[in-house]
């Protein structure tokens, strides 16, 4: 199988380039994931840099653009991919080296939505009560692993990464707006006002297509807009 991988090391390279790699067919068994292939390639050339950790799609480290689509390498079956496999860093963020991008912009937008429960009542001695129905509203929201696949596939985020919060952060915003225990609805909605932060979403839905956890940020954004309308009338 052939690979064409984006290489750039600011220490030594003036320009980024694509490097061709090859793995013999017998080297990996049929069931391996793309991450296994990358780890094998790294033993061929240990200067190849990428992030990885859990190897099972729960930590969100190894987001990358594979044959034009953002995905997690560790849960992408290698033999589902067309050869040569073209691997680029996730688009729209500055490249630190090879497949490693600088995610600070992405994390900044995440922090900007106050992604924590705000409840100003005196704390009960036991848990806050929440019905199973109320808890169900958090399904499809709390599972986000902050891999960045969605926001870095969103044209609105590419153009305005400093002003548009992006699908990942907005999904988190809705995760807390939807939580029956949270009391900061007004504050949260006020923070989303304006032409950019929320309203730059043009429902292109790339985020939905690429989310490795099967989440739907576009729907969450729609819910926020509905809530805004409801509160304003």
């Amino acid at each position: 199988m052939q690979f064409s991988i984006y290489r750039y090391n600011p220490d030594t390279d003036e320009q980024p380039r694509m490097q061709t790699f090859e793995l013999a067919d017998g080297e990996l068994d049929r069931e391996v994931m793309l991450l296994d292939a990358l780890l094998a390639l790294k033993t061929q050339d240990e200067t190849l840099s990428f992030r990885r950790s859990c190897g099972e799609g729960v930590c969100g480290s190894d987001g990358m653009n594979v044959n034009g689509t953002n995905r997690l390498a560790c849960i992408t079956p290698l033999f589902s991919l067309k050869s040569p496999v073209v691997i680029n860093p996730m688009p729209g963020l500055p490249v630190i080296r090879d497949l490693v991008v600088d995610m600070e912009q992405f994390y900044h937008q995440y922090r900007a939505v106050k992604p924590y429960l705000i409840n100003n009542d005196p704390e009960p001695e036991v848990e806050y009560l929440q019905s199973p129905g109320e808890r169900d509203r958090l399904d499809g929201l709390y599972e986000c692993i902050l891999c960045g696949c969605c926001s870095t596939s969103c044209p609105s985020f590419w153009w305005n990464p400093d002003k548009f919060l992006g699908p990942a952060a907005l999904l988190q915003s809705w995760r807390f707006l939807a939580d029956s225990r949270d009391q900061a609805t007004d504050e949260r909605l006020a923070g989303l006002d304006g032409p950019f932060r929320l309203f730059r979403c043009h429902t292109i839905m790339n985020c939905v297509e690429v989310c490795p956890k099967g989440l739907n940020p576009t729907r969450a954004i729609g819910r926020i807009k509905e809530l805004m309308v409801k509160r304003s009338v």
Binding site: E46, S49, E56, G60, V100, E127, P132, R135, Y142
Partner: protein, 587 residues
């Protein structure tokens, strides 16, 4: 020396649940906290914990902390320290309610309280009927807890050094710890973080084994730093093999799968756990179930063409329940075993999972070591919590659901103890340049160029050796050979070279530093296993099949400098209740 320095009250190394829980306690008390993590905090391995966190909330069935304590002591095969276990089990309900207040989206019961499921090794009334003690957020409890703790730290404005790698601890001539030398992975810049207190929360070392459930980052960095700083490691021979890793791959399928009613079968379709644990069956302790599976396979009753695994079956459970309670493990089995657990069983086999041993601490998170006066003297300024530590609440075998509990209870306790220390120690001790030299050399040694052995090849040999020589069943001969092999690998380390000498995001260099850590931790593990001539908890010696309380009811301490193991007594006396004396352990 032109290395920049920054000063904080506390340096926390590791941003999993233990580190973040401690950081939150400290930030909320207005301490200046630096959290150093080699990955972005939410990528820490706590994220992978599935089943839940134990606390005697009694939401589903009657329960109290004292029953939880009994189960934990028995689960530990009586090697756990009973003062620490009492403390943890008493603190559990409050610690879980706190998590809920932080925002953790626990699954719920009809009446709105936290859902609790059955887990292995749990009983009501000191060994009676199965308890339901494990608080769960579906089967993503670790993810939910880690996210909430990180989020609360954002709120508390904790100072994070994301993607910084800790090279080594720094200490004063008088033995007190003063911070660490760290490396900014993205830029290759070195930084000295001076701190009045340092908390190690670096997690486990599952990567010493070839097949494991752990993330690639779990390389025992904190344990190895402690060893190099002269602190011994405790009870390292007790390494947990989780019964249900996906066979041949290692991904974990939570004990929650059996807690929700799943069970194991052999090639005859027999529910074989009934023979090994007549009462608890598939929910016996993990060491018991892992030995049973290994025995079934050894005796020719394994499944598949090579008869090398058993099957975990959940087909009989209502698929709506599986989708609701076990969505993530259903995904994992679909992705990695091509099996929908609603329709077909999954091949599973015991897989290296959890480091019960670690850096010895007391129940306040203070690191304790034999210095001059007895085996448990405080190491000034140094703390540890979570999987890298050995409190010891897990003893010879950890119960499922007690690891998330360990990190939140002792992360919090360490935070509180540090706050107290900071109140009495207002000023930084001076850190002389020459104290940084050994840590610098550790880093700079990898600048050596030329031909040499590859890091990847050495790591592969090490993990294979540990798998073959330090597995579920052990003998004198196999362990002894393993010790020699690990020793020989250590001897080859000075000849290892990396070919990447860039300063920018050099992952080859990080992997080299991690390999050094793995070597030290592997040696501690196999040496301690070689010395312990009995079977207790996860340490199972075919040549010494019985537990021997007369000679071996004691903790091992492995010292790196002398490459020796010595021992200290188990703390048998709880805080307020009577001791649970050792009894034969059946399930």
């Amino acid at each position: 020396m032109d290395i920049p320095r920054r000063q904080f009250d506390t340096l926390i190394i590791g941003a999993g649940g233990g580190g973040l829980r401690a950081a939150l306690q400290l930030s909320q008390a207005d301490a200046r906290v630096a959290v150093v993590s080699k990955v972005f905090p939410t990528r820490s391995h706590t994220v992978a914990a599935q089943g839940g966190v134990n606390a005697a909330l009694a939401n589903v069935r009657p329960d109290n902390w004292h029953w939880h304590m009994f189960d934990t002591v028995k689960g530990s095969d009586y090697l756990g320290d009973q003062d620490a276990i009492e403390y943890m089990c008493r603190a559990a309900p409050k610690a879980v309610y706190e998590l809920e207040h932080f925002g953790v989206p626990f699954s719920r019961l009809e009446d709105g309280r936290i859902y609790q499921r059955q887990f292995g090794g749990q009983s009501m009334n000191f060994g009676g009927e199965q308890a339901a003690r494990t608080c769960a957020a579906a089967d993503r409890t670790g993810h939910a807890i880690l996210q909430s703790l990180y989020q609360q730290n954002i709120r508390a404005k904790t100072h994070f050094f994301d993607e910084y790698f800790a090279i080594d601890l720094l200490n004063h001539q008088d033995g007190s710890f003063l911070g660490a030398l760290v490396l900014n992975i993205a830029t290759g810049e070195k930084l000295v973080i001076e701190a009045k207190t340092t908390l190690l929360a670096t997690g486990g070392a599952g990567q010493i084994f070839r097949n494991n459930t752990n993330a690639l980052i779990n390389t025992g960095d904190g344990m190895a730093m402690a060893l190099r700083a002269g602190v011994p490691l405790q009870d390292m021979e007790f390494f947990q093999f989780h019964p249900t890793g996906i066979a041949g791959k290692g991904m974990l399928l939570s004990e929650g799968a059996r807690g929700e009613g799943g069970y194991l079968i052999n090639c005859d379709g027999e529910r074989f756990m009934e023979r090994y644990a007549p009462q608890a069956k598939d929910l016996a302790s993990r060491d018991v179930v892992s030995r049973a599976i290994t025995t079934e396979v050894r005796e020719g009753r394994g499944c598949g063409p090579d008869k090398d695994h058993v099957l975990l079956t959940l087909e009989h459970i209502d698929s709506a329940v599986v989708r609701k309670r076990l969505p993530a493990i259903r995904d994992l089995a679909l992705t990695f075993a091509n099996v929908d657990i609603c329709d077909a069983p999954v091949p599973v086999f015991p897989t290296a999972h959890y480091t019960m041993g670690g850096i010895p601490t007391n129940r306040f998170g203070e690191v304790v070591a034999p210095i001059e006066h007895g085996p448990e003297e405080n190491v000034p300024g140094l703390y540890a919590a979570g999987e890298c530590a050995c409190v010891s609440v897990h003893g010879g075998n950890r119960l499922g659901g007690n690891s998330l509990l360990d990190i939140i209870v002792f992360g919090r306790a360490a935070g509180n103890q540090i706050i107290e220390f900071l109140g009495e120690n207002r000023y930084h001790k001076p850190l002389q340049d020459d104290r940084i030299e050994p840590a610098l050399q550790r880093l700079e040694r990898w600048n050596n160029r030329g031909e040499g052995e590859s890091v990847a090849a050495l790591r592969k040999e090490l993990t294979k050796t540990m798998e073959e020589h330090c597995g579920v069943f052990r003998t004198e001969e196999v362990l002894g050979e393993g010790v020699s092999k690990v020793h020989a690998l250590q001897q080859r380390m000075p000849d290892a070279r990396i070919r990447d000498h860039s300063q920018v995001f050099n992952t080859a260099r990080i992997e080299a530093l991690e390999l050094e850590n793995l070597m030290d931790v592997a040696m501690a593990t196999i040496m301690s296993a070689h010395k312990r001539q009995e079977s207790r908890g996860a340490h199972s010696r075919s040549d010494f099949p019985e537990r021997d309380d007369v000679h071996w009811l004691r903790h091992s301490l492995y010292h790196k400098a002398s490459n020796t193991v010595d021992y200290k007594p188990v703390r048998m006396k709880p805080l307020t209740v009577d001791t649970f004396p050792p009894k034969p352990r059946t399930y």
